[in-house]
Structures are given as C-alpha cells and as structure tokens.
C-alpha cells in the first residue's frame, strides 16, 4: 500500500504552517519565555466560566439549533448593532460557528467555484491562503507595508485586482501586524468592492482591542451590509479561545449557503460554549475593557523597548501583537528567531510564517505578564548588543 496514493493532491501540495514548525522547536525548550502565543494570557473571566458550569449543572448537554441558540443570536444581533453598526436578523442573518476559523472555511467553500480568486492582505493570519486553496480557489496576496504601519491600502487592492476575483478578505485589526483600517480608506475599498462586484469577508476578531481611535467595520459603510460577511468571535476580546465559539453575520442567502455545510460538518457549536457566550455578551463588557487597558499599557511598554533596543517597531493600533523589523541586526527573520531562541531562550515568531510579506519582521505577542515582557525584552537587548559586536568585529576584519 502506498500512502501517497491516499492523500489528495491539493493536500499534499499544501505547505505546513510556519508556526507549526517553529512550535516544534520551542516545545523542546519549556524554560523559554514565549512571546509567540496567539491568545490572551488572561483566563476567561469567572462570570463567563461560571455561566457555562451552571448550564452544565442544569443538564444543558444537548445539540442546539444548527444556527445556534436563538437567545444567543438575539444577543449577537444587539451587540453587532451597538458595536459594529449594522442590524442583523437573528433568525436569518446570523450563524453561530465553532470559532471564526470554521466561519472562514465554510464561507469560502460556500462562495468559491474552482479557480475563483480571493484578494487578501498580507502579512495575515496563517489560515487565509490555505483555506482558499482548500476551497479550490486562488489566493492573491496584497502587501500591507511597514511604511504605512501595515494599515489598509485600498490602492494596492485596486492594482492587484484581476478578472475572476470574487472575494475580498479583510482582517483589521490584523494578526500579526496590529494594522487597522480607518473609515476613509474603508469607504474607498467599499466603492472598489461594489465596482468590481466583490463579496467582502471581514474577520474583525480583534475589533474590541483597538487602541487608537474607534474600530470601523466595513459592514457599516452604506451599501456594504448586503455584500459583507462580518466574522467575529469570543476568543480574543473575551479571552475564550478554548471555548471555540464565533459567529458570522451577513445576507440571508449567504448564511443559508454556509448553513448547508455547517449542518453536515459541525451540526452546531457546543452548547456550553454558547451559554458562556451569552453571559459574555450580556455582562462581559467591563472585563473586555479591563483586559484592553492591560494590553494597551503592555503594548506601549513593548514598542518603546523594541525601539530602544534598535528594532524598528511601528505602533500597532490594535490586536495584541507587535511586529518589529529585525533588518538592522543583519539577520533575516528566521535566523533571528532561531538564534534568539537558542542563545537567549526567548521565542518570537518569524514574520514570514504569516506570508512572504512578513519578511524581516517578527511577531511578538504582548499578551503576557509584565514580568515576562521585561525579562524577554532585556534578553532581546542583550542579544541585539551581541549581534552588533559580532557585526562590528566582522567589519573590522
């Protein structure tokens, strides 16, 4: 038996995640300080955990409606109306999913025919391009650049457009760069989407973790609700990664199509996570603000330290990641990460794990304690100083 014959061709050719490779190395060094974690360091607020426990005690262990508990969808509708702007019908325009990851997958599979093209910005979350490939689409990356602090660049999207493009995929604030999108640029992009008849999939999972100005959703731009799928979840702002719960809001015809896949593949999101999500939406706002304040302070500290060290770092306007350049060290991002880990036992993630436009950058999560951030940045300073000495000696020779 030849196992190769039993793996689909498009899976064979799918590259492994760069994160996964680096994770394997870091796992062998449990003593290392990791700034490579893409999730909150806070435990889910107790009131949310307690709501889930209470639901379990009451015997809520069944399936739910495929679309999710109606009571949750009603709360999602209220939340979206207050926070993002558009109003969604809880009956027909909202689907509760197993995290935003599932929502992205089933959205792409619902929309794309083989060969259809998807415009997305890069560096970006690791799953976007592979998910497009898995849906037999063609992913077209559009660079966001350090010069513009990795913010939305509508002109770059316009230039990258080509016949066959069907979807525009956005993620602002962005993992890994912390880039954001302002209203003016979103309006220009919205016009582009309308002119080219594109569906927008907007992953706004970090929306609440915006530190400069207010988050603006492209779904709130007039005329965009009908062609936008707004994706959001509880993992980041409510610190609920392990609950695996998110949702999609969009036009009923698209939600219906996604439902077809969701009902066969997933049935429904876990009921205990849905119960926890209700509590998060009804009573969790203060917790989100408290955590955001902590991230905000830590962001200011980390960015200042990186720039002091000589690692040029723009101010991430959202998310909990800093994305400094390591170009000044003379190492590329992969060499930098590997040597930093080996020599100073600090883990940051190479920017190219998030696409080739992450060249010469590394992602450092500031979702960790001050104690670790202080120690990690001190070690990075020492590492960069050593590199400078090496470079000076080489130059002298």
């Amino acid at each position: 038996m030849n196992p190769e014959n039993f793996i689909a061709d498009h899976i064979k050719s799918l590259p492994r995640s760069g994160i996964r490779d680096f994770f394997a190395i870091v796992s062998e060094m449990p003593q290392a300080i990791s700034l490579g974690i893409g999730e909150p360091d806070f435990v889910t607020p107790w009131k949310i955990r307690e709501a889930s426990i209470f639901a379990l005690e009451k015997g809520k262990t069944s399936y739910t409606d495929n679309r999710g508990l109606l009571s949750l969808r009603k709360e999602i509708s209220k939340y979206c109306s207050n926070f993002f702007g558009p109003e969604y019908d809880p009956i027909s325009e909202i689907l509760v999913t197993v995290g935003v990851s599932e929502a992205i997958d089933i959205a792409l599979r619902s929309i794309l025919n083989p060969g259809d093209k998807v415009l997305y910005h890069e560096p970006c979350y690791v799953s976007y391009a592979p998910n497009v490939t898995l849906a037999f689409g063609e992913a077209i990356p559009v660079a966001t650049t350090p010069g513009q602090e990795f913010s939305l660049d509508p002109e770059a999207f316009e230039k990258a457009w080509e016949p066959g493009c069907k979807i525009l995929m956005l993620n602002f604030p962005t993992n890994p760069t912390g880039g954001t999108a302002d209203r003016e640029k979103l309006e220009r992009l919205a016009k582009f989407a309308k002119d080219k008849d594109l569906i927008v999939i907007s992953d706004e999972i970090y929306a609440e973790l915006t530190y400069e100005g207010e988050h603006v959703s492209i779904a709130s731009i007039p005329g965009m609700k009908e062609r936008t799928l707004l994706l959001h979840g509880f993992s980041k702002s409510f610190a609920m990664t392990g609950f695996r719960i998110g949702f999609a809001c969009g036009p009923d015809w698209l939600i219906d199509a996604m439902m077809k896949i969701h009902q066969y593949c997933m049935m429904c999101a876990p009921i205990l996570s849905q119960e926890a999500a209700i509590e998060a939406l009804v009573n969790g706002a203060d917790d989100v603000l408290r955590m955001r304040e902590q991230y905000h302070k830590r962001r200011d500290f980390v960015v200042r330290r990186f720039n002091e060290i000589g690692l040029n770092c723009h101010l991430p306007r959202g998310s909990f990641y800093a994305f400094p350049s390591v170009e000044s060290t003379g190492l590329n991002e992969v060499e930098f990460c590997h040597r930093l880990l080996r020599e100073k036992e600090v883990a940051v993630v190479p920017g190219t794990a998030f696409g080739e436009h992450g060249l010469n950058h590394v992602r450092a999560s500031f979702s960790t304690s001050y104690e670790k951030l202080v120690e990690a940045t001190d070690r990075m300073e020492s590492f960069v100083d050593c590199l400078d000495s090496e470079n000076n000696q080489s130059a002298a020779i």
Binding site: G36, G38, A347
Partner: protein, 160 residues
C-alpha cells in the same frame, strides 16, 4: 490612581529599577515618587501577602462586629481610633448596617484572642456589644486566590 500606584497593584513588585523600566522613567524619578507617596501618607508601607495555610503564621484571626455608642462631639471616631490602637487589631472599619465597627484582630491562639475581646475590647466604656467570628480557612487573600487554578501545561508555547 497614579500610573505608579496602578502598576504596583498590578505587578506587586516595588523595585524602582523595574518600575522605571516599565514606565519609561529614570530610576531616581521613581524613587522620588515613592518617597513622596510615603511622605504624604498615601503609601503607608509594604506588607507581604502570605498564604496562611503555607506560611505557618501561628496566628488565630477573628473578625468582630462591634456596636458602640456615638459621642456628641466626634461621633464614632474617638472610639474607633481607641480600638484601632491595640496591637491585636489589624484593621478597623466603620460600617453601615447592624453594627458600627468591623474589627479584624489576630493573636497567638484562640485564648489570647478571646482574652483580648473579653478583657480589653468589650470592657471599654461605650462598647455596647461584640459578636466574634473566628476565621477558619482562607480562600482568597488580598485579591490572590489561595486555591490555585490548575496550570494548563498543554497550552502551546507558540500558536497562530
């Protein structure tokens, strides 16, 4: 609340060099701020927060509800201050509700605490009644959970 006090609460680490690094200030500037806080009696001192189960403090703690009669000039203050001055008293608060003062006391053993209450506290003129509750087992101390959450050892060190 100043950013320095807020950070002290957050980190529980009073070392000026560390505070200075986080706040982006000079160490001397932080030392000066700490001195000012102490001079103006905002910062009264440093106390380690111990887990009584582990630290073997050899102390018995009790909380006492005290009813007192207010005085014409001074209200409850003179009595409250008088009670607060006993070294057995850790904390003392004026309360709303069914009693007037809530007094936290500690002693070497149950007898010494009982003796303090019956011989010193209850006999003060103006103390109308006391109700004593001994603390049995602590679960949370100064915002620190004493029963630790189980660390998630399987949480990945790197994730997307």
């Amino acid at each position: 609340m100043s950013s320095l006090i807020s950070l002290l609460f957050e980190t529980g680490d009073p070392r000026p060099e560390k505070l200075a690094k986080i706040l982006g200030k000079d160490k001397s500037e932080i030392e000066r701020e700490l001195e000012e806080l102490q001079e103006n009696k905002t910062l009264l001192g440093w106390v380690p927060i111990l887990n009584p189960d582990k630290a073997d403090l050899g102390k018995v703690r009790a909380v006492i509800e005290v009813k007192i009669s207010p005085e014409r000039e001074g209200g409850f203050d003179r009595m409250a201050l008088r009670i607060s001055r006993f070294e057995e008293v850790d904390s003392c608060y004026l309360m709303s509700g069914g009693y007037d003062l809530l007094v936290f006391v500690s002693g070497e053993n149950l007898n010494s605490v009982a003796a303090f209450i019956s011989e010193r506290l209850a006999t003060i003129e103006g103390v109308l009644s006391t109700a004593t509750h001994f603390l049995l087992r602590p679960y949370k101390e100064q915002n620190h959970m004493l029963v630790q959450e189980v660390a998630n050892e399987e949480k990945p060190a790197v994730s997307p």
